[in-house]
Symmetry: C4
Subunit: 267 residues, 4 copies
Amino acid sequence: MTFKTRIKDIRESKWFSNLTTGIILFYAAALGFKTIDKVAEPYGLLFYSIDMFITVYFLVEIIIKIYAEKSIKDFFKSGWNIFDFVIVVITLIPLENSSFAAIARLMRIFRVLRLLNARPELKKIIDMLIGAIPAIVDIVILMFIIFYIYAIVGNFFFEELKSGLWKDFLTAMLTLFRVLTFEDWTDVMYEAMELYSWAWIYFVSFVIIAAFVFFNLFVAVIIDEMQKINSEHTDEQLNREEEKIDLLLEKVSQMQEEIRELKKLKT
Amino acid sequence: MTFKTRIKDIRESKWFSNLTTGIILFYAAALGFKTIDKVAEPYGLLFYSIDMFITVYFLVEIIIKIYAEKSIKDFFKSGWNIFDFVIVVITLIPLENSSFAAIARLMRIFRVLRLLNARPELKKIIDMLIGAIPAIVDIVILMFIIFYIYAIVGNFFFEELKSGLWKDFLTAMLTLFRVLTFEDWTDVMYEAMELYSWAWIYFVSFVIIAAFVFFNLFVAVIIDEMQKINSEHTDEQLNREEEKIDLLLEKVSQMQEEIRELKKLKT
Amino acid sequence: MTFKTRIKDIRESKWFSNLTTGIILFYAAALGFKTIDKVAEPYGLLFYSIDMFITVYFLVEIIIKIYAEKSIKDFFKSGWNIFDFVIVVITLIPLENSSFAAIARLMRIFRVLRLLNARPELKKIIDMLIGAIPAIVDIVILMFIIFYIYAIVGNFFFEELKSGLWKDFLTAMLTLFRVLTFEDWTDVMYEAMELYSWAWIYFVSFVIIAAFVFFNLFVAVIIDEMQKINSEHTDEQLNREEEKIDLLLEKVSQMQEEIRELKKLKT
Amino acid sequence: MTFKTRIKDIRESKWFSNLTTGIILFYAAALGFKTIDKVAEPYGLLFYSIDMFITVYFLVEIIIKIYAEKSIKDFFKSGWNIFDFVIVVITLIPLENSSFAAIARLMRIFRVLRLLNARPELKKIIDMLIGAIPAIVDIVILMFIIFYIYAIVGNFFFEELKSGLWKDFLTAMLTLFRVLTFEDWTDVMYEAMELYSWAWIYFVSFVIIAAFVFFNLFVAVIIDEMQKINSEHTDEQLNREEEKIDLLLEKVSQMQEEIRELKKLKT
C-alpha cells in the first residue's frame, strides 16, 4: 500500500469528513462566542490559537484532497473544490496587521460555508434553489417594471416630503420594497396623503398589484413543479401500460387473422 | 428588392428588436439617474438630448412598423401596436412650456412599458395574470361585502375617535385594508378599546374572517389550476388508453364469435 | 292567466332579481355616502326618502315571494328565505325615536347581505368556506391549546409589566394573537426581556411553533382538497378502465377454454 | 363480574373519557379566570377547592387506568401514559409553601395537555407535525447557515450602534429573526444606514434570500406530500391494472400458440 493510496483512503473515509464537519461547527461556535465582549477579552489567546489551528487544519485537509487526486487539474474540475480552495487560500494571506485586517477577519466566516460541501443533502437543496430561478426570472422582470414605474411616479410627486423617502430613484425603490413587506407602509402613505389626498390610490394599487403578481408567482411555481413530477412519475407507468396495450392489440389482431385462416381452411 | 421589403426585413430582424429593447433600457436608466439632484442639474442638456433622441427614435421605429404593414389598418389590428402608437404619439405633443408640462414629463415613463412588447415571455405572464382574474372575481366581491359591513359598523361606533381613522366610509375602508395587512393594526384596536372595551372582538373577528377567506381563495386557485393541468395532460393519455381498450374488447368479442362459428362447423 | 301565475312569472323573471340587486347596490352606496358629514346634513331628507323607499320595496318584494309560493310554509323551508324575511321584518319595526334608534339604523347594513342571495356564485363560495371548516377544526383546537398554555405562562411571568399586556388571561390571549400577526411583537418582547433576559425564548418559540402549525395546516388543507379531486376525477376513469380490463380478461379466458375444446374435438 | 373487569369497563366507557375531557376543560377555564384579579381574590377558597378536587380526580383516574391493565408494566408501555403519569405525579408533590410554590403552580397548566390524549384526532395531527420535521430539517440547517453568516457580518459592522441590536452574536441572531418577520425591520435598517449608506444591501439581500429559501421550503413540502399521496393512491390502482394487462398478454400469447397448433393439426 503506497503512501498515495493511504492518503486516498483517508480522504474517502467517513471519519475524515465527519472530523472536518465537527471542526467547522466548533469553529463556527468559537466565532460566535468571540463576539461577546465579556468572553472575547480574557480568552483572546485561546481564540487566536483556535484560529491558528483551523488555518493549519484546513491547509492540511486541502493538501490531502489535492494530493489524493491523480493530478492537480482533476481537483479543480469540481466547482465545490475551487470554492473550498479559494476560501482556504484567502484566509492564509497574512493581513492581521495591515489595513485589511478587519476584512480578512470577516472573510473567515465564509469557512462556515464549507459545511455545504460536507452535507450532500444541502448541496441538493442548493441545486434545487438554483433550479427554481429560471421559473421565476420573468416574474422578477415584471416585478422590476412595476417597481420602476411606481418609483418614478413616487419620486415625481413625493420628492419634497420631509422624510426623504422619495428623494431619488434608488431611495424610492427601497421605500417601495418596504411597502411591499407591509413595514409601516401606512406611515409612508399618511405622510404622502397630507400633500395629495389621492395618494392612497398610489399605495393601495401598488400593494394589490404587487401582492397579486406574487400570489400568481407562487401558484405558477407549485404548478410547474407538479407537472414535472407528473411527467416523471405517473406518466412513466402510463406509458408502459400503453405500450403493453398496443402489444396486446397487435397480438389479438394477429390471432384474429389466424382464426380467419383456420375458418377458410375449414370451409 | 424594393424599398418596402427592405423595411420589412428591418422590422423582422432580431437586431432591430434588440436595439429597441436596449434603447428602452438605456432610457429607463437615464430617467432613474435624472431623479438624483446632484446628477440632474449639471447634465441637464445631456438628459434633454437623450429625451430628444428617444422621441425621434420611437417615431422612426413606429413609422417603420406601420410602413412595413400592407396597410395602416393591419397595424392597428393588434392591441399591443395601438398601445405602442398611443405612447409614441402622446409623448410627441409639445407640452414642455404649457401647464401640462409636468404631466407630459411623467407620461414618458410609460415608454418603459414598451418592454412588455419586446419580451414574449412577459406577454405570456401578463396573459396568465389576466386569465387568473375570473377565478377570483367572486372572492373579491365577497371580500368587498365583508369590508363594506365592517366599514359601516366601524364608522358607526368609532367615528368620533381622535385619529380620524373611521371618520367616513372611505377612510374606514382604507383603515380596514391597513388592518388586513397587519400594519400597526393593534394601534387602531387599542384606540378603539379605550372607548369600547369589546372592540377587540370587531378587530380579531375581521382579521380571522378576512384571513380565512384569503386562505381559501389561495387553495381554490391552486386546485383550479391543477384540475386544468390534469384534464389537459394525464387525461389525454388515459382517454387514448381507454379507446384502445375499447378496440381490444371489440376485437376479442369478434374473435369469440368467429371461434364459436368454427366450433359449430366442426360439430 | 291568473293573478297568482303572473306574480310567479315576476318572481322567476331575470329583470326582477336584477332590479333587486341593483336597488341593494344603490342602497349600499347611499349608506356609504351618508357617513360623510358634508353630504349627510344638507341631503338629510333625500337619505330619509331613500330609506323609506327601500323599506317599502323590500316589503313588496318579500310579499311577492311569499305569495308566489303554494303556501307560506313552502317559503320558510329555505334558510336563505328565512334570512331575507328576518332582515326585512327587523328593519320594519319603528324604532326611529326610541332608545334603540341607533341599533336599528345599524341593522340596516345587513340588508347588503341580501346580495349573497342574489348571486349564486357567492352562495357556492360560502358553501365552500363552510365546507372547509371541518378540515381545520382540530388544528384550531391545537392552536387554542398552544395559545392557552402560552397565555397562562405569559400571565404568570409578565403580569406586572407596565404595558398591562399580560394583566389577565384574556388580555394575554389577545397579546399572543398580536404576536402571531407579527404586529410590533418585538416591542412586547423587549419589554418582557427587561424583566427576564430569557424572555426571547418564550416569544421566538411561540412564533416558530405557531407558524409551523399554521404552515402544516395550509399544506394539509391543500393536500386534502387534492385528494378529493383525484378520487372524483381521474379515479372514475381509472375505475372504468379497470372494469373493461376485467371484462377483457374474462372474455379471453372463455375464448381460451373454447379453443381448447376445439383442439380436443380435433384430436 | 369481578371488580377488575368492572374497573376495565369504566376505563373503556365513553362517559369516563368524556368526563375526564369535561373536567380538564372546566379546570382550564378555572385557571383562566383565576388570572383576573377581581375574580381571584374573593373566590380564593373556591379555586383552592377546585384545585384539590382536580388533583384527587386525576389521581383516582390514573389509578383506575393502571389497575385496569394486566400489570403496571403494560401501562408504562405507551408514551402517552407515561406523559399522563408524570403530569399527575408532579402536581402531587406538596410544594405550596416551599420556594418552588410558584413553579409548582405553573406546572399545573400542563394538565391541559392531557386533552391531547383524550382526542385521537389531535394525536394524529401531532404525529403529522412530527412526521413533517425530517422533510424540512435540511432547509432549517441552510436557514441557520444564512442566519449565522449574516449575524457575524452584522455584528462585525453594526456592533457599535446605540440600539444594541447587534451587540453580540446571539442578539444579532434575534435581530435577524425580527427582520425575517418584517417587524419594524426598516427601523433597524435606517439606523444602520446612518453609519454605512450601503447597509440597505445587507438587509434587502437578507430579506430576499431568506424569503426565497422559505418560499421553496413551502413548495418542497407540498410537492413531497403530494408525491406520497400519488404513490399511495393512484399508483396502487395503476399497478393493479398493469398486473391485469400482463396477465392478459400472457393469456393471449398462450391462445395464439394454441391456435397455431390447431392450424398445424389442420394442414
